[in-house]
């Protein structure tokens, strides 16, 4: 298995919206270099990205506002290149170079 340093990186853009940006240094757009393989040697998927963001990018220690029971918290939409992740295979989707992943918190006010 390749060591962490040798693993090639996939450059992607990760966006947060609907208030989620508050958990990520109050920045709406982040350029992320995601290891192309998980520590187990599997291709990087959305599930891996979510875990990676929780360990490396989140600035607020209240990670339960982003992830609950190992999955994205209810009330957060995940969009892969502007399309609902459901159209792309949800957590199983394999990340490609240049992908745009958007996390949006659903709003209820009015």
């Amino acid at each position: 298995m390749a060591s962490k340093e040798d693993t090639p990186k996939i450059p992607i853009t990760v966006d947060f919206s609907g208030g989620l940006e508050m958990l990520f240094s109050n920045k709406r757009r982040h350029q992320v270099s995601l290891p192309s393989l998980t520590p187990e040697g599997q291709p990087a998927t959305i599930a891996y990205l979510i875990d990676y963001l929780c360990k490396n990018l989140i600035s607020d220690p209240r990670t339960d506002l982003f992830v609950l029971d190992g999955h994205i918290r209810p009330g957060i939409l995940v969009l892969i290149n502007e399309a609902d992740w459901e159209l792309e295979g949800e957590e199983e989707y394999e990340i490609h170079k240049g992908d745009n992943i958007l996390f949006v918190s659903t709003l209820h006010g009015g």
């Binding site: 607020d60 459901e86 006010g109």
Partner: protein, 472 residues
Amino acid sequence: MQPTPTNNGGLDDGLQSQNGHDRRLTDEEFDRYSRQMIVPGMGKEGQLRLINSKILIIGAGGLGCPAAQYVAGAGVGTIGIVDDDVVETSNLHRQVGHATSRIGMKKVDSLITHLQNLNPLPHYIAHSYPISARNGADIIQNYDLVMDCTDNPATRYLISDLCVVLQKPLVSAASVQKSGQLIVLNCPPTPQGLMDKKYPPCYRCCFPKPPPPTSFVSCGEAGIMGPVVGMMGVAQAGEAIKILASGLHLSSPSDPEVERNLIQPTLLIYSYDLESAVGPYSFRALKMGSRKKKCFACGENSPENLSLEGIKNGIPNYDTFCAAPIAKVSLPQQDRIPAAEYHDKKQKGELPAHILIDTREKEHFSFGSIDGAVNYPFGKLLMKAALIKRDGGDGDEILSPISARTQAKKDDDGKDDDTPIFVVCRRGLDSQETVEKLKELGVDHGGKRKIMDIIGGMKAWKEKVDPSFPYI
């Protein structure tokens, strides 16, 4: 399935004969609607369809006001509005269908007053009571299209479920602080359970589970920029007018014309940035999925889950599904002090030297605070608490952002700083949670240090101590 209408060239012919809408416009109508009727695709037929349509606007607030204005201006023939609130001064920066002269009036009556002035031709119906599982179907069934302009998850799921069963298109928008969202659902209206091709999604298809109540914020707490919610309300009116003028609400998804008209379900999101004011506005149109097989409300087995009868009788239970936010902590009496008592004792010099923590957001704090209070926003405090828990370490560290003294004193003589702490917030909930959090971290030094909650927050302070206090 309905029979396929014969003549379907576009907005300007379509379903008119089916609905007997072929009449002359009155001079007043002709004059009033001329500028929109000459827009390609609208025409006299589109206008007549609007005039013969009935729209229900649920919520007469930040979304409902701008939405209602454009729907009324465009000449939708019957406009029902549901809301049980009254107009308050703090509504007026965004709820532009109300007026300073109508503060205290029922929102529904205030908004209809405004709309009648704008356009006296439509028939306006006031529903000045809240929509509920009991009355919802009876209200909605009389209309052609519903606009969800409400402000909480439980009502949003209820409205969507009713629209699925009653087969009404739903134009749904939401907005808080600096963000907005908009989506058209159930359009064209499709019977529950049909799965043989791509059908439009309902609210549950897009948002199957509500957010946990702790992550839910309202406009009252988080604030809201008027133009952001206004933009979403206007966009809602735009979508509703499009659907009604084209007759899409009267069609069935099997109509060939409808198939041609079906577009990808789209969620529009708007993010507005006050921190980088010169940056680009951000509108994004996101592709959503169609009806989901597993959807509780409209999917394959949905008729078993959801019926009008069931909804009326409390199945499903929307309140438990969304678990409305309630006070999670209630401290024992000895850890609490009424605002007035705190004030009196302080005046008489009966309180020992203490730290007074105000956990409101810094924007709230900036308008005024109790003498000697230090600002430590609740979110920051929770963040710090989570950090200490994660990394291990002295619980007293939680006070480091507001008091350098605590650590220093401990270092000098090796003794804990037992200066009592009082906590105040906006309405008295966060302060209780703060007291509990501080005790959990051991900041009370096993009971040697008093940590007290000021009951009812700055709201109580204004009511009981200082009526001139600038409370938001």
